[in-house]
Subunit: 180 residues, 2 copies
DNA sequence: CGCCATTCAGTTGTGCACAATTGAGTTGTG
DNA sequence: CACAACTCAATTGTGCACAACTGAATGGCG
């Protein structure tokens, strides 16, 4: 039983107020350092908790969670070059190349150099990979059930997370040294 | 520039309705398979986007994001055995042992076998590790700024994520074969 | 006391994330 | 055509997450 980091009302109250932080002025850095642990950490923990549930549910399919995400994209789009796959999933070739090699070894996909552009490698589902979709159809319900969230809650959370991701990506771009 | 996976309104609309899913009945598995990609994926993407921003901000401190989390816990609690550290962070010795070894190599912590219990290893901050806290104090503000979220938004999101994590952990426990 | 289950940190092995680099292939421009 | 700039997948190296296991230390129990 992992000790869930408690909401810790003391932290909340110590930094809260009717006036936005930027105007109100001195929120002590000490407080912020503790709050900070809560938010970044909560996201991390939730992501890993998801990973744990997927690991259990996907064991029957012989897929890891990232491999499942790749398969989802392929089931939806049929076939894609590695580059496009990476854009859908926010992953680069450093992550995808070995992952796809494992999927190929498992007989779920094939990788073929594009004839039009010899730089590009197109990833296609094999018959076996296509067939696996049938097994995968029951996965989402099990996951959704595990969350205990109803559809609206999920959708709203997703919207917040996407907004957050957008803001973080924009900030990362701005702050990267080589892009002023 | 990674192409941000768009909200894709078609997906949303295809599964949405005024009636809660559990009552409305047959949501097609196909739809769910696509929605599923959105939620688990959004969480993953947000977590990694956070990682990207932390990577930039923490570069000055010479810390990775997980190392920073460990330091946060140590700054708050002074010293802890590896086990307790793991409970705070939801990490086991397989992750912490090498991480702590790197922090020790960096001169930020020491690891000493407990005299009371020779099985236990207590992690302590060095003077250098304690001093690093001063540098870390400005990190949370930069992160908070990068999110573009105000405090209430952060706190609410955190509450939702913690709820989600709790539900997922409970589900994982129930569904684990060896605990019926 | 002697034995055994439990607790703890560490190790090993697999897989993912990401930065940096490589090398083949392509495209634009003179 | 020639050549520089760019694109793309793959590779290398570092670090994290987690399962499975090892081995030492502890604590309970007969």
């Amino acid at each position: 039983m992992t000790t869930t980091p408690a909401p810790d009302p003391a932290v909340r109250d110590s930094v809260r107020g009717p006036v936005p932080d930027s105007v109100r002025g001195p929120v002590r850095d000490d407080d912020f350092l503790r709050l900070d642990q809560q938010i970044c950490f909560s996201l991390n923990a939730a992501s890993r908790a998801f990973g744990g549930v997927y690991r259990i549910v996907l064991k029957d399919l012989g897929l890891t969670y990232p491999q499942y995400l790749v398969m989802l994209v392929l089931w939806e789009h049929g076939e894609l070059p590695v580059k496009k796959l990476g854009e859908h999933l926010r992953l680069d070739s450093g992550t995808l190349s070995p992952l796809l090699k494992r999927l190929e070894a498992a007989g779920l996909v094939r990788r073929e150099r594009s004839a039009q552009d010899e730089r590009s490698v197109v990833v296609r589902l094999t018959d076996e990979g296509t067939a696996l979709r049938e097994q995968a159809l029951r996965v989402p319900r099990r996951i959704a059930a595990a969350t205990g969230f109803d559809l609206d809650e999920i959708l709203e959370l997703r919207a917040r997370l996407d907004k957050l991701t957008g803001a973080l990506d924009a900030a990362a771009l701005e702050e990267t040294p080589g892009c002023a």
